[in-house]
Every structure is written in C-alpha cells, then in structure tokens.
C-alpha cells in the first residue's frame, strides 16, 4: 500500500511537468488550429537559456522564469507575424503549417548544435538533489516545485481565459473567428497574442525541464510527442483537460511497470493515444473548443 501511495505521489508530481509541457501546444492548437511542431525546439531553447542565465549570470532557474517567458512571448509573436500568419487557414493549411514549423524546429536544433555542441548540459543548483518528505517518503524538491509552478500556471491561464476581456475574446475567436471579427474583435492581434503566450508557456516548460534533466540540442522531441498525447487525451483545446490528460499519462506510465517491462512504459502513452482517438476522438474529458 505504501509503495502504491509513493508511486501515486510520484505520478502526480510528474503530471505537473507533463502539463507544463502541454499547455503551450494545447493553447495554440485550441485557438489557431495549428500544431506547433516547433514546440519541442522551444522547450529545448528555453532550457539552454535557463542554463546560460544560471552558469553565466548565476540566476536561479526559478527566478529566471519571468525573463525567459517574456523573451519567448516576443519570439512567439515574431514567429506568428513573420511565418504562421502567412499560412492558409483551414484543412489545406494544416500540412503546410506542420512542415513550416517542423522546419523551424530543425533550424532551432541546428543553431543549438552550433552554439552549444552536442554535449549534455545540466543545471545544478544547491538544491538539485534536495528532498521534501511527503507521507513518510522523500521526493525531489525540484519535482515538487515544478508541480506547484505548473499548478499556478494552469490557474493563471484559466483565470485569464475566463475572467479577462482579452481571455474572453480569445475564447470567442476560438468559437467563431468570423463572428468575432463582425463584433469588432481584432482576430489577428489575438492570434499573435495567443501564439506568444503559447510560446512563453513552452519557455516555462523548458526552464522547468532544465532543473530536472540533462539536455542537449536533441532534447524536446519526446516532450513534443508526450505533449501531443496529453492534449489529445485531455480534449483538444481544453485547458483543464490538459491537466487531467497529464495526470492520466503520468499514472499510466508510472504504474505500467506492474504490467509491462519498464522500457515499454514510455510507449503506454502512445497506446492510450490510439485508443482514445478511436473510442473518443474529442478526448477523455474535453470538448472541441477552448473553455
């Protein structure tokens, strides 16, 4: 029983990181209907920025979060205005946006190879191996902090979407962009804003990842695929669903060790993805619109 509880807590903490990876991808998809394949590259780039800020300027990764998020917000806005905005909308634009953003990812990765080589890097703070006791077991302080920050991020995102004028406008655009234009909402501006916020959230995930893992320029591909599983599980475009999707994925991965060899646990999420797409295409808990 104690072991099950310990694993359950580990799974919840892991879900915090998973959710933080998926918010940005889910938000951009929910509003723009664009699968941001550069998301993994953004997470990797943010991890490097966090590492540079820590090693060169001794800025703690958690204190670096606002800086990184602001930088990545503007990167996202620039990406939207410079690239994504010019893509055709609708089904025809889907493949083009995939290819374009996949290309962006490759460019980011190769720039990282040029700047940082293929060496593995890690951020080691004084508390990197510190632990906190929860119900008699010790857990990594970093994982607890990542979970708390992820929880704060989802709450702020939800409040922004439900309580502010801009957030409500974003939801309106998601429901019907044509009608939103008719009632005077600047749809293009909101698209740019959403792409910026989504990229800033990828930046947040990158900083959090840098506190937990060693990374190199190839980092981010696994994170992108898992993010995709999460947003499908939780319901495409549902912010709260993302949190639940992350929990489902992390529980499935952590507890799968009882049923399958541990090297297969990472594949469990993808099996779940296929099952959900076949049985319930709108996701386990979500609807097709952002809410």
């Amino acid at each position: 029983m104690g072991q099950v509880l310990a694993l359950a807590i580990s799974a919840v903490l892991l879900a915090g990181f998973y959710a933080s990876m998926a918010y940005g991808l889910g938000l951009i998809y929910g509003v723009l209907r664009v699968v941001n394949l550069a998301h993994g590259g953004m997470i990797m780039a943010a991890a490097y920025l966090s590492w540079v800020l820590f090693t060169r300027f001794s800025i703690d990764p958690y204190l670096a979060i606002p800086v990184v998020m602001v930088v990545f917000f503007f990167v996202g806005v620039a990406m939207y205005k410079g690239l994504v905005r010019h893509l055709p909308r609708g089904a025809a634009g889907g493949v083009q946006s995939l290819l374009l953003l996949f290309g962006v990812w490759l460019v980011i990765r190769n720039i990282a190879y040029l700047l940082f080589t293929g060496d593995d890097q890690a951020v080691r703070t004084s508390y990197s191996t510190a632990s906190v006791p929860i119900f008699g077991n010790s857990y990594s302080l970093n994982r607890v902090l990542v979970f708390v920050i992820s929880l704060v991020a989802v709450s702020v995102l939800q409040l922004w979407l439900s309580r502010t004028y801009t957030g409500k406008a974003v939801r309106a655009v998601t429901e019907n962009s044509d009608s939103s234009t008719l009632v005077g909402i600047d749809v293009e501006r909101l698209y740019a804003l959403t792409f910026g916020v989504g990229t800033a959230l990828a930046g947040l995930a990158g900083v959090l990842a840098s506190t937990l893992f060693a990374f190199n320029p190839s980092f981010g591909s696994g994170e992108l695929l898992k993010s995709f599983v999460i947003i499908v599980l939780g319901g495409l475009g549902s912010v709260v669903g993302i949190g639940i999707g992350a929990l489902v994925l992390s529980f499935a991965e952590v507890f799968a060790i009882y049923a399958v060899p541990s090297y297969l646990t990472a594949a469990v999420g993808f099996v779940l993805l296929v099952v959900v797409l076949v049985v319930r295409p709108s996701g386990l808990f979500g609807s097709k619109v952002l809410r």
Binding site: Q3, A6, L7, S10, A11, L14, Y29, V35, L37, A91, G94, V95, L98, L99, F102, Y113, T117, G118, D119, D120, A122, R124, S128, T129, A130, S131, N137, S138, Y139, S140, L141, N142, R143, L212, F213, A214, F215, N216, P217, S218, S221, G222, K226, F228, V232, S250, E253, V254, F255, A256, I257, P261, S262, Y263, L264, T265, A266, A267, L273, L277
Partner: protein
C-alpha cells in the same frame, strides 16, 4: 488528421533510408606496394556525437602523425606514407553507410577505420563486409556487431560484458573479505540497448557462476527517461545491496538525482561507465558521485610506463591535454591496422585481413596485449579499468590488481547504518 500528419513527420525524423548496397570485387592491389596508402574513415564530427567524434579523430590523427614522422609505414621493405581520408557522418546512420560506400568504391581506400557508436558501426560494418575491406573500429562495443559471422570486422573496444564482469570481480573480492553480505542482493537496471543487454548478461553470468549473488530486480528502461521513480521504488522495496545500472549520461543524471533525493543508498552503486567524467560531477556535485564505481576501457592513470607513457606524453604534447579512453581505443585501432599492413607486407585486402586476425601486439590497453580473437568474432577482449570516486575528487583504479593504485571502499560509507 493532425495525428496522422504528426506521426508521418515524426517517422521522417527517426527513420533512416536504407541505402542501396552493392558488393564489389576484392582489391586488385595484390603484390604491389603503392606510393601512398589511403585509409578511409568517417566520424561524427558534427551532430549529437560531435564531441566524442572529435576525440576519436585525435586518436586517429596522432597514430597517423607518428607513423608519417617516422618516414611512413614499412610495407615489404619500403617506407610508405599513410593518409587518413576522414569524412563527417554527422552521427547519422544512413550517412555513415553512404560515405563508407563512397570511400570504398569511388575513392578506393586501402582499408577502413570505423566510426563511433554501436548503431553507426553496426550499419557501416555491413558495407565493409560486403565490399571485403579490412574494417577496424574503436567505436562499437556491442557483441551483436561481432556475432554475425563477419570476417572483415575488427574492434578494439572490449565487450561491455567485461565491464560488468570486472566490476563484479572487484565486488566479489569485497564480499570474500566479509565487507558485503553473502549472498548479496543485486538490482540490475539497464538501458534497453545492446550496451545495456551486454551489461546485464555480464552480471547474470557472474551471479550464476559464483552462486553468491541473488538478482532481486532486473529492469530495463528506455533512453532519455523523464521519471525513474517506479524502477527506483522496486529497487528500494527489494532491499538490494548492489545497485548496478547501465546508463548513458543524461539518464544517469536524471536517475541519480531522483535516487539521491529519495534518500536511497546501496552498499555498492554503479552506473556502468558513468561516474568519473567531469560532466557528471558538474551535474550532481562531488558528494553526489562519491563512492560510485565505474569502469572504462582505458584511463590515463595507466600511463606512467612503457607504451602508455609514450602515448600519454605524445598525446599531451600534441593536444595540450591528457587523453581519455576514446583517444586510446581509436589510437590502438589505427596502430593495429598499420601493424597488420606491415605484417601482411602488402596492401592486399585479404592479406591485411588475415594479418589482423593473427595480430597479437603490445598495447596500451589494460592487459598490455591486443588481439582480435576469432572466437569473439574479431572483437578485442581485455579487462576494464575499474575505478571508484572518492570524496577528495580522485577516482583511483581499484581493479585489476596489477594496475590498481587504490583499494576501493565497500560498503558505501555514505549509507547510514
């Protein structure tokens, strides 16, 4: 729709295109000694393995420099200059294969020095075998490369099984000295690669042979894991004495951070070859790597006499830093190929291949001898250098006894109780 597209694009990322390969005739160079010998090679000089590729390049180039400075390679009484034709395979399997094909068929190199990392060597060795050209590599350790019945492939990296066996031999000495329980409970946690499988096999066979070890956990994991809590939980629940892991650096860092923060401590901790590198200490801190046992193919601490001293001095003189095992095994790969050409008195590929099969030379590698035994498919076999990290930052060699400069500590003094 997007899922299908995403899957397709992802598949494009991971899939390699199998190049078409055609076998060619064996060499037409029997009998005559050319004015210049050209050795082909590819290494990952850019991409994910660029740092390691750069180290292999240094080992190769040092060997070429030495031989050319001595007037060239002696072949049938004639001194011949040797040239290294080295191309960048960018850590890409398909590229490594295509470039090897080009070097062999278009550039008509006389022999081949292999690339780095098991997966690339495995793919490239097929090209060498099909084209019947001597292929010596220092970058592929997996036994799977050498158990295909190939006749043209030779490797200077001893199998990872030896790594596990040598670590177990040192552990066995500690057990016999009463420092570890008998039978000792072993948790084997291995990455799901040929490297990990060989590691696991080494421990399992040792445990079976001695009967003094009980394997209580046997779990593998996929590369680049994000969470090892389930595996670690199993190890903790099994109350293992020996925590024997085989992992690459990123997984070692992620797993060991979780291990430390969950308060775990085992009488013996090892992550295979990991633990002594500066990157590990940087990521985990000195205290985090204290008493970790590790084993590698070569270490500069072997270098205070004979061939080793010459190699270390020569390398340090050229590059201004001490060599690591990467440069040692690549240097030996090149040196063994040169010796084989000299012994064959020809650049005839079959004769060089036969000379490589028969080679038995003094070496800088542990054990002091290098050969490519036929019963191991042409893979060199020698003991690993087992080291243990100490709190003062040093990592003395604790095994084998003939090269040890420290005794090692067991059980881990860092564990409470």
């Amino acid at each position: 729709m997007q899922v299908a597209a995403l899957t397709a694009v992802s598949a494009m990322v991971v899939a390699g295109c199998a190049p078409s390969q055609s076998s060619s005739d064996t060499s037409k160079d029997a009998g005559t000694v050319p004015d210049k010998i050209v050795i082909g090679s590819t290494l990952p000089l850019t991409g994910a393995e660029s740092k390691t590729g750069g180290r292999y390049k240094q080992g190769y180039e040092l060997a070429f420099d030495e031989i050319n400075k001595a007037g060239g390679l002696e072949v049938n009484g004639k001194k011949v200059k040797v040239e290294l034709k080295l191309l960048d395979d960018t850590s890409d399997q398909a590229k490594a294969v295509n470039l090897a094909q080009r070097l062999i068929t278009s550039d008509k190199v006389n022999a081949f020095l292999g690339t780095y990392s098991t997966s690339l060597v495995e793919a490239q060795s097929t090209v060498a075998e099909q084209n019947k050209i001597p292929y010596v590599n220092g970058g592929g350790a997996a036994t799977s490369i050498y158990t295909k019945g190939y006749k043209w492939i030779f490797g200077t990296l001893a199998p990872v099984e030896n790594l596990a066996t040598n670590e177990m031999e040192w552990i066995d000495e500690q057990q016999k000295a009463g420092k570890l329980p008998k039978p000792a409970k072993v948790a084997i946690v291995w990455e799901n690669t040929s490297h990990g499988k060989d590691f696991r096999k080494g421990i399992q066979e040792f445990a079976k042979k001695t009967g003094s070890y009980q394997v209580v956990v046997d779990e593998s994991f996929a590369l680049d894991g994000t969470d090892f809590s389930a595996v670690l939980n199993k190890v903790e629940a099994a109350k293992a004495d020996l925590f024997m892991v085989d992992a690459h650096l990123p997984d070692f860092i992620t797993m060991h951070r979780q291990y430390l923060s969950s308060g775990m401590c085992n009488k013996i901790e090892t992550y295979g070859a990991r633990g002594t590198e500066a990157d590990a200490k940087k990521a985990l801190g000195q205290k985090g790597v204290d008493y970790i046992l590790s084993a590698v193919w070569w270490n500069k601490q072997l270098g205070d006499k004979g061939l080793n001293k010459k190699f270390v001095d020569s390398f340090t003189g050229k590059y201004g830093k001490a060599p690591e095992w990467y440069q040692a095994v690549s240097y030996e790969a090149a040196r063994s190929l040169f010796t084989a050409i000299t012994n064959a008195k020809s650049v005839d590929k079959t004769k060089v291949r036969d000379a490589l099969s028969a080679i038995d030379i003094d070496s800088i590698l542990p054990g002091g001898k290098l050969s490519f035994p036929a019963d191991k498919g042409g893979q060199a076999s020698y003991p690993f250098v087992v080291q243990q990290n100490l709190p003062d930052g040093s990592s003395p060699i604790v095994y084998p006894a003939d090269v040890a400069n420290g005794r090692g500590t067991a059980p881990n003094p860092g564990c409470k109780g």
